[in-house]
Structures are given as C-alpha cells and as structure tokens.
Symmetry: C2
Subunit: 440 residues, 2 copies
C-alpha cells in the first residue's frame, strides 16, 4: 500500500483557541488585531508547508457570561474575508479558508468575495460554509430570533447551489480581450442563473470571472445529522470534531460512505479533525506545559461551566481534591460522563478539570515530537482522518514548536510534504477542479 | 494668504474608466483581474504620494446594450472590500477608499469590514457610501424592483448612523490585555447600540475594536438634491462630477455652505471632482492622443448613445462631417445642448462626437504638464475644488505620465506634497479623528 500523506490546516480565530493562551509568558496578546503579527504567523505556516490557514468566525460577541467574556482574547476578531485577502498578498502558496455564514449573508456577496479572493490569491481560496450557531447573531442582522436548525440547513443547501451557480456564470474562456477587434468578452460564454427558490431569488450573472480554481474549496464542520448529510453532498474538506480515535474512525467511515452512496468519489472529501498540539522535550514537560496553560484559565468562570456540565454545584467541592462521586441528574449524561472519565484518566483535581474544560476540551496531542507524530500517524493510517486542523496552545511559541519540531518529524517519516507541488489549494489537497455546469 | 494644497485620489474601476483604454497599444488589458498588475499600479500611486486609491463598484453587470457591454473592460470587477485589503498589505501610506452600497448590504457587515480594513491598513480606510443607481442590482439581492430614490436616501442616512454607531461600540482604551490579572477588556468601555429604526434593526456591539481612525473617512458622490444634502450632513470627501469650472465653483460653494449651516466646519469636507488627464509634449500631441483614445471606442455603440442624447437617429448623418443642425425634441434639453456645444467648441465630426461621449464625457485636462498644472491650480485657487480624483486614459502609460510628469510640476509649484506627513488617510486629507459618541 502506498504511503498515505496527511494534510494540515492551521485553525485560527484568528490566532489561538485556548482561552488561557494570551496570558502565556511571551504570548502576542494583541495578535488578533495586529496585522504585522498575523502576517508573520501565516508566513511561518507557509514556510512549514501547511495546506491552509483556516479562519473561524462569529457574527456577534461570543455568548458566554461576562466574567468569562472579559477574559477572552477571542471576544472580537477581524472579518475573515477582509483579513484573508491581506494575507494572500504577503504569501504565495498557502491556502486561505474563510468562514462565511449562509444564514446572515447575501449569496451574491459571498460568491463575489470568494471569487475575488480566489483570483487575488492565484487559486488559494476556501469557503467554510456555516449556518451560524450563535443566536445573538440574528439580532445584529434585523431578525428577532435565530432561524431554526432545520431551516438553516435547508437555506444552506440552496445558498450553496446559488453561490456555485454564480461562480459558473462565465466559461473559463469567456474573456477574450482582443485589442484588435475590440471584443473584450463573449456573451455566448455567459450564463444568467435566474434562480428563484424558496429562500433565495438571485438573477446573476456574477460580475466576476470564473475563479481560478473553478470553485473555491468547499469546507464544512457540521456534526449533526443535517450537517453530516450536507457535508457528504457538498463538502471537499470537513473540519471534524476529533475526540476519541474510535469515534473519529466511525465518523470518517460514515461521511465517506454517505458520499459514495451519493455517487461522489470519497477521496474528494478530506476529513481533518481539530487537534490542539502541545510539544515538550519529554512527555512530562509537555503535560506540565499543558497544565500551566490550563492554570491560566479563570477559575470562577471555569467552575461555573463545570457545574453546568455535571448538573451539580461544583463550587462546593474542594478545588484541590479529586472529583467526588457525582450523582446522576437530568443533565446530558454524555457530557457528565466524559468529564468524569477525563478526571479519572488524568488524575485531575476539581480545579484542573474545570480549567481543562474551560480552556479547550477538544482533541489534543500532548507529548514529544516523536510521540505526537506517532499519534498523528496512527490516526492517518487507521483512517480516522486525512490530516488535521492544528490549533496552537499559544503564539508565536506554540506555532514555532509545531512548525520547527513536529513538521520535520512528519516529513522524515514521509507523512507530509517537504515542498508544495502545486500552486492552488485544490492541488495541495488533491481535489479536482470542478467542471462548469453550464459550459464544456 | 497661505498657499492651498491639493489632494489627489486615483479613481479606479479598478483600473481605467475610458471604454477604449484597454485597446491602447501596450495597455494592460487584463489589469482588472490581475492582482500583480494592480499591486504595481497602487505602489506607483503611493510613490507619487497620492492621498488615496479610490475604487468604484457595481453590484451587477453594467446596464448597457450588449454590443457595448461585450467591448467593455469594466463589465466585471473585483469586490472592492476584497481587493483593498490585499492592496493594503503591499503599501504603507496611501489611503484606500472602497465603494459599498447602503441599499444592498447589511450595516453590521459593512461596519465590520471597514473597521477590519482600517486596522489592517493602519488607519487608511475610506468608505464611499452609495445608494446604487443600477436597477439590475436589485435582482441579484432578492428584490423584484429597485428601491425608489427617496427611500434609498432615507435608508442611507439611517445606515450611516448605524455603521458609525457600531464603530463606536468600544472606547479606544477598552482593550487592556493585562496578562497578569487575566482581564482582556473592560465591559464598562463597551456600548450596545440597540438600534431599532424604520429601515434597520441592529443590536450590536460590533465585534471589532474601534477603528484606528475612529471612523474610516466617509466619502460620497451624490449630485442630486438628496445626495448633496446627505453629503453636507455626513461626507468628509465628495467625489464631484466636475464639468465646467464655473459649475464646480457653484457646487463647491453650495455644499460647503450647507455644511456650515449645519454647524460643520466646511474645511472638514474635501471636494474632489473627477478629472481624466491626458498628457503630451505639446498641446497638439495631447489632443491627438485623446482623439486616438476616442477612436478606440466602438462606433456602432457610440452612435446609438449619441442618438439617444440628441433625440434623433444620428446613424443617418455622415459620420465624417460636422454635426448638422439638430431640431428640438422632447428629450433632455441640457444633454442635447452640451453635446452640440462640445462638437462646436472642438470642431468634432459626428463620429468623433459619438466616440467622445461613448468613451468618457466628463471633466478632462488635456495638455502638457504645464498647461494641466495651470488648469488644476486655477480650479484649486478659485475654489472650484480641494483637489481631484484623477482618472487615467490608459494603464500603465497614462498613470506613469501623470505620476512622472504632472505630479513633479505640481510639487514644484508647492501645490502638492513631496512626502507624506501623516500615516492615516485622515491625516493626508487634514480631517479630524471623530470623537466616540458614547465615551470620552
């Protein structure tokens, strides 16, 4: 069997996810509003040959209690479709994935902005299609209430159809630019979409030439039944939740199976779980680093969240003792059991558990470059993933450690590219360029 | 009296306006979709110390007959709010003005994108607030018909109030980022707008820190009664139509008078008419250059437009003879008379008149660097303007001629800066930084 190669995205918000990371000694606390620093970060990711810089988004302040919110460096962030063009201008190869909502946008704007970004970047754009989970966003866009989950997904599918249809407004050869005859483009090579649907009415054509990649790469992250189905139908990259490797294998098989059942080539959906990576010289040093990172999370906010998860008032517990036995309650059983199992497995105190969950509770690889590469290789080779969306515990140090120590280890094992082979995000990911649905 | 200094914007679409310009020998016909070329152009404008790169926009194909449209290099263009961040990343001082519609946008998106651009560019963003004149845009945004003129202006004013209110969501000192205490920002220094108006309902706050300039510079171009009034109330730069110097003086006095009557400092509205500039070694060479440029305009399309303007079928005339006497018709008298006067003044044939109007019919300075500087100086000193939004007959040559020959002439006369003195667009234009309406 040929060696599998992994794909790496850097999941940025636009910097780190972990809520304590900005307090790390030497961390660039202002990086999310400091363009020169973001430029440095993306250039270092490109030097490490990442497939893409992947930017999350929110259309309102994060909906968390004010005590946690005022300690959060992710409370605000640049608009991704404004930041990524700027990053495109200072890089040459790395892909640039922006999150944009199908619930709180016009399809014409979304189609045009991604098409523009794809031209400006020479074919490096990706669209993370989201339906927006934060109900506060509705209030910023003239709605009284958030659209229901099912309706959001119905609109998302129609929105996708319209955006991709608008990208196909012009044949790739429509623009002739014959200075002699004076013909700039050929109207016979233009298609007017004339979409009249349940959610959207958009005439077209788009007033931008077809993107370099045909279509920017379609990315999705939905984990619900509706989200998985939309992903199987339309996604080319999926940001999976991660979690236990056996759960990830099941997710991987499920989504690829759904895609195959729909007649798609399952290799044309790349599944990249999120992974927080903490690097140390020894396993112990890496774990201590993570413990220190978690200790920077505000305890009062964290213990409140833990109380919600457990369904009991955890403020009454001794913070520096192990978690006492927790009675069953009406609360979500899976969340409570995951927390209890985590505390047992790692021997965490109440405080440590609260801060772990308050910092970043998702999938993490904590170890030496070799043990981290072992885990990543196991995930890849056992078909739990096609690569990872890496999250850094802090910047710039955590990013530099991953790029400078883990990437070379992956390269030495033949698991990751040493040089870019293509120039577009599709080429990095091994995805085909879509045919124009209206023109041969 | 102290010497007046002029301000110069480069009005780009995103390159040239004249419909024959892409056919000029050596012209960069593909510049509107070629980022490396646009990067070169903006860097040359910055080297010439322009105040701003000013980008027009359309939200649909231009509504012109297909025979003209298929010969137009301005048929499509990048989204300005996607192109300008990329240009920000490859420049350091020049202002960046993007056109964005108040009719076909969400105020929250517009506020957020301009705030992001202002941060990314270090305070160089400007917003050309338009209500969108092309009725075809409505069909791309789910509307059956274009909003009426009065309603568009009413919405524009409310939209402006919301966007500027969102920019003021955070006090300038709201972001503390105290790594020791873990407090990232101060909720007491945040204002929730909670706007409930006739056209818009937007809660806020914006999830972006206050822009570097407080507010990006507000630009407008409306010439109607409603447009002038909105400009007097809110604009800091006005793109005026130009035309005859005496008309421009009257416009200048009218708008500055309206602003003063509203209690504004008239110096805080800069009026910059558009001007196509064609440079030659002699007056004759410049005129021949312009004639050649006009000759690249498609005659069949141009004669159709001339027929509409004159209210008669101009196809019946000898194209190479002077314009015959034109009877009065029901058509707009002012348009017809302007065309007849132009043909008389410059001794144009029917063909030349048609191609002139089909190419670019607005204000133009055609001559040697010295005669062009004379005209520009006369306009400035007689208070017909505070500077100009320059249009180039072709790129790169027309741009290089202006930057390399006219700018040094203006500098030698003390009319234009030799170096940037400030770093923000407001500083280039001599505009104050707005106070935050919610925080001292």
């Amino acid at each position: 069997m040929a060696q599998r190669h992994m794909h790496l995205g850097a999941f940025m918000r636009p910097v780190t996810i972990h809520t304590g990371s900005w307090r790390w000694p030497g961390a660039w606390a202002d990086a999310n509003f400091n363009f020169p620093r973001l430029k440095t970060l993306v250039q270092r990711l490109e030097a490490a040959k990442f497939d893409a810089f992947f930017m999350a988004d929110h259309l309102a302040l994060l909906n968390m209690p004010i005590e946690a919110l005022r300690r959060s460096h992710t409370v605000t962030s640049f608009d991704p479709l404004t930041l990524l063009p700027a990053l495109a201008a200072v890089t040459e190869r790395i892909g640039l994935i922006a999150t944009a909502s199908t619930t709180y946008n016009d399809a014409y704007h979304v189609a045009r902005k991604f098409a523009s970004l794809d031209h400006i970047s020479g074919g490096r754009a990706g669209w993370n299609l989201v339906t927006t989970a934060n109900p506060d966003a509705a209030l910023n866009f003239g709605h009284d209430a958030h659209m229901a989950h099912g309706e959001r997904y119905k609109r998302a599918k129609e929105f996708y159809d319209v955006v991709t249809g608008l990208w196909d407004s012009f044949a790739d050869d429509a623009f002739i630019r014959d200075q002699e005859s004076g013909i700039f483009w050929d109207p016979a090579r233009m298609h007017v979409l004339d979409h009249q649907g349940e959610e959207l009415s958009v005439r077209g054509p788009l007033n931008v030439a077809r993107p370099v990649q045909g279509w920017p790469v379609i990315v999705q992250a939905g984990a619900s039944e509706a989200g998985r189905q939309l992903g199987a139908e339309t996604a080319e990259m999926i940001f999976a939740a991660g979690g236990r490797i056996e759960d990830s294998r099941a997710f991987y098989a499920d989504v690829k199976g759904r895609a195959a059942a729909l007649g798609r080539n399952p290799d044309h959906i790349k599944i990249l779980p999120g992974a927080l990576v903490v690097v140390g010289d020894t396993l112990g040093e890496a774990r201590a680093k993570r413990a220190k990172l978690d200790s920077l999370v505000h305890y009062e906010s964290a213990i409140g969240s833990l109380s919600s998860v457990l369904g009991v008032d955890a403020r009454a517990f001794d913070p520096d003792a192990p978690l006492p036995e927790i009675p069953e309650t009406e609360n979500s059983k899976s969340g409570r059991e995951r927390a209890i199992r985590l505390a047992e497995r790692e021997g965490l105190t109440v405080r440590q558990l609260a801060q772990r969950l308050g910092g970043y509770a998702g999938n993490a690889f904590v170890g030496t470059p070799a043990t981290i590469a072992d885990e990543m290789q196991d995930w890849l080779e056992s078909r739990a993933c096609d690569g990872f969306n890496i999250m850094f515990p802090n910047v710039p140090d955590g990013l530099d450690e991953f790029c400078g120590r883990v990437v070379p280890e992956l390269q030495a094992r033949g698991l990751f590219r040493r040089e870019y082979e293509g120039t577009t995000l599709r080429e990095h990911l091994g995805l085909p360029r879509p045919e124009n649905r209206f023109f041969a």
